[in-house]
Point group: C2
Chain length 640, copies 2
Amino acid sequence: MTETGKNKSLRVTFEPSGTVISVTPGTTVKDAANMAGVNITNVCGGTGVCGKCEVIVTGGTVDMQPNTFIDDAGFAQGRALACLSKILTDVSIEIPGESCLDETPKLDEDSAAGTETYAKVECSYPYNPLCRKELLTLPPPSIEDNLSDLDRVKRELEKVGGYPALNAEFHTIHPLAGIIRDNGFETTVTLSYKDNAFEMVRFEGGDTAGINYGMAVDIGTTTIFANLINLANGEICGVSALYNSQMRFGEDVISRIVHTQEHKHGLGTLQRLVADDINDLKDTLAAQCGIDQTDINYIFCTGNTVMIHILLGFALGNIRREPYIPAFGKPPAVRASDIGIKINATGNINFLPGAGAYVGSDITADVLASGMADTDKIGLLIDVGTNGEIVLGNSDWLICCSASAGPAFEGAGTRSGIRATSGAIEKVRIAGDGAVELGIIGGEGTKPGGICGSGYIDLVAELFSAGYVDRTGRFGGKHHDSIRRDGDEPEFVLAEGSDTDSGKDIVISESDIATLIRTKGSIYTAAESLMTHVGLSWNDVDNVYIAGGFGSYLDLKRSITIGLLPDIALEKFRFIGNGSIAGARMALVSLDGYIAAKRIARKMTYFDLSTDPKFMTEYTSSLFLPHTDLEKFPSQRLGH
Amino acid sequence: MTETGKNKSLRVTFEPSGTVISVTPGTTVKDAANMAGVNITNVCGGTGVCGKCEVIVTGGTVDMQPNTFIDDAGFAQGRALACLSKILTDVSIEIPGESCLDETPKLDEDSAAGTETYAKVECSYPYNPLCRKELLTLPPPSIEDNLSDLDRVKRELEKVGGYPALNAEFHTIHPLAGIIRDNGFETTVTLSYKDNAFEMVRFEGGDTAGINYGMAVDIGTTTIFANLINLANGEICGVSALYNSQMRFGEDVISRIVHTQEHKHGLGTLQRLVADDINDLKDTLAAQCGIDQTDINYIFCTGNTVMIHILLGFALGNIRREPYIPAFGKPPAVRASDIGIKINATGNINFLPGAGAYVGSDITADVLASGMADTDKIGLLIDVGTNGEIVLGNSDWLICCSASAGPAFEGAGTRSGIRATSGAIEKVRIAGDGAVELGIIGGEGTKPGGICGSGYIDLVAELFSAGYVDRTGRFGGKHHDSIRRDGDEPEFVLAEGSDTDSGKDIVISESDIATLIRTKGSIYTAAESLMTHVGLSWNDVDNVYIAGGFGSYLDLKRSITIGLLPDIALEKFRFIGNGSIAGARMALVSLDGYIAAKRIARKMTYFDLSTDPKFMTEYTSSLFLPHTDLEKFPSQRLGH
């Protein structure tokens, strides 16, 4: 090596991929991995808080900042946190399985709910998609009927579809004269909805009306889902999903915002990542269904406010700062090509409005998909993700709020938490004799890797119901062989390291239980506050809609046991699965659905919980199992 | 010279400019001049028919095709037609004054009618321009009032100006968050009308509402007029005009169409020429008024159908071929930058619709400016240019036609015809004793260069009234010293070569009179046919509007004498000057005016004269002075 000092270049080799990259001394392992395009789990945005980016230094030297996750002994064995470790020499870095970001999330009954391929999109509104093709057979012009080419098309569109005079960009009109004359005055015109009206975006010769595809895309902070829909008949022809590539910059939206604020080109980087993710999904779906990307004429996209701002390249600072102001409510429709998404050159990408910085278009889509705004019955919708978003109302009124629940149900912030991916413990039963039975995603033979949200709910409910944990969430009531102490803190061991994928014990500690209680308390209290705010009680609620990827795994009884869900009749609960993509599909295939969704967003009042003087008291009362006030959980009172 | 044969390069020097260009042998002098950017008058599009492109070969050799304009003797003296002469050696070419295209047309009372600088635009509709700036002082957001930035702007626009929710391109919205926060939540938003609605196109910090300019542009086949208008107060701040640079490819629209059909990049060439002309006018006006081009936010443009198709880059073939179908009726509004016009990057250029291939937006503008569609009185509008366009009707109905009058009144197709430019004989009086008095544009001391349209009307009327010419347009009735024979054909000499600018005699021949009679007959018969078609007679007409650059020079009495205009009371005639730019100004400063104009175009029925079985008979009857049927010209019957 001929370079010296700060400017010399160090060689970093990542295993098992074998990827090599050169960096300057002092670069963190995490930054090096990002530059190399190597995915390392990163929940906290690289602040050393989550401990999820553990790597093994198999050669060379790094300098790691002190932290609570890896002690000197562990560091001596080569363990290190990628975000806190600076590279000092040429190094080899091994990324263990549990620190790898999976490339592809599984499409289980949750994420693909309602997306059975070749089924029609479920939609309670008339089928009239936002992108249509109309075959026009124009009467040839004559001296007596000498309308211009464009007006001839408009007249026929009025006749065929009752369309009022539609606009078109001049570039779109350029080839029209040639196309109609080369094809016996037969042309297929593509109509694409933008902002408030259809626009003519493409003229083709002859009949191509059967070739018209659209995509519904749900940009989740963690996962991006996409459906390919045949707009000629409303059938779903393909479903696909992948993890949001922005995850390497942190798992929650705040980490993403921070990244754009601390890196000059951060926003551009995140924008390109999400655009490329959508392009990847599009490529997958097009290949699956044997179509060309130019056959895709429209994308309908939902997502939280931060995800949509990033996709459209809008700065995020004001969303993070009080009073939390987004740039727009309804994101403007744009040409997909303007934001780097490669479908037909004339393809638009359109969006639903959200109700605020923390209640985005994904929630509008949830409400649309639930149908709660189509009935006079009172509905309560709960979407549990990194935050819990809650909507209350009916066809007359809607009020919503966002509970800063934290990501405990998403596998972050707890010792053994992981996402609902292969190896996750999703189900726990503790028998009367103390025998523990685990349900693991991936089925028999899969080694457990950690506990996901539904697993935690089961686990806390079972520990509580069986009397191992008391109403405050503390161990000590009843003995169990699996309860042990780690230092001062008691914990319950679900699986020994010898039986697990990572070789580490899978446990739930008292602090984990406290975190989970804060999370469930936050969601419950938020819902209750909305209700109190409008003068209703739980008895007035006719339907409770559970949305979100986490949704249909939820064990209702046990969720009520821990006080996450209100103690009302089980038949009032409805699982709507991924309401965000279901709503995107409905808007894509139905102008009426799209208009209904815009009406929903306009109607939805955002209630900022921080302005509710009673919220903190109520929240504090909720930090028990199931609640301080057992009057609110009558079935639990009887049960104990 | 080292090259040989076809590929050798020849040097062409043009005088008096001194411009030099290299061409291959066989290139015509006209093509060489076009390549060099040297303007040579070219009326017929380079087909050898008009004889207006005469040049003098002062050195070297050209090969000229035989023609009727230059004989062997003339050719031996160096005279040649540029379009028919192929360059064989290095040559020097002198372009005489009469073959030069003037660079700048004069802005006389006609072309600038109503355009007195710093006068308000004359407009009978409310002042509400198509491009406005609104200063908004937004209430800063708070937790309680947490609308998005864009929705905050929309709410204020609704409050301030009653605007419904307006759209904006996402690029326009990008800087909004920063702009309002850097300027105490004060922003000036530019609203620009596109297609059917205002659009937000620009956000500026603070108060810039006073800086907002627009241009009204009339693209004539011959002359392009432009007005700069202060949209903050509706005042005209500058007027300018130049000859359409496409003139080097022929003076009428057919020549331009032919050029685009015969040259691969012909359409692109013509498009760039007109865009550059508009840019030149814009530069002149911006300099005149001391503003920057970025202060110009909107252009409103009128012109005939061919000119607008060229400006927007649309192919012209179908306009020329029966059934004469344009690509569009209402040209789509476009970003000026999309067609190479350099004003503010967000500036739109908008248009009026026309009624057909040969009745374009200039005529819609004429009707708007005349006010004939605002009254129940019957109006007849005549716009005499290369073609004569005629509109008949009132606020309830409108019918229009185009008379293929030919360019005789525009200075083409006759021996001594020139445009109404300096040196043109515009007025002729013949006294009882035969003394001839000439009125020349440019005033005393200006040598005559030829006869323009109004001069010809005077001349034919005077020759006829004094008895030198009979009702068939032939000489011979009465002797005059200035009547002589050129070969077989009698002609009347207005000025001897010794007294003229070009050194050539200025004459009117019997064929010239025949041409003029065909032109006036065509216009008169067209107007009469419209009237007969709707069952009216001349007595039913309340107002006759004379539009077009040629308009206000017209001597009404003499126009009636030759049978160009109908023989009705002189007080029924109104000169509206250049109605095309007057209409463009009205639409620019008034949304109501713009909407009225679109209604006018929708209402205007195009009547194709070729489908009228009586037209040819009536036309033939009109080929007399004033007409075969003197019942139609009672005042003339009494006069004789």
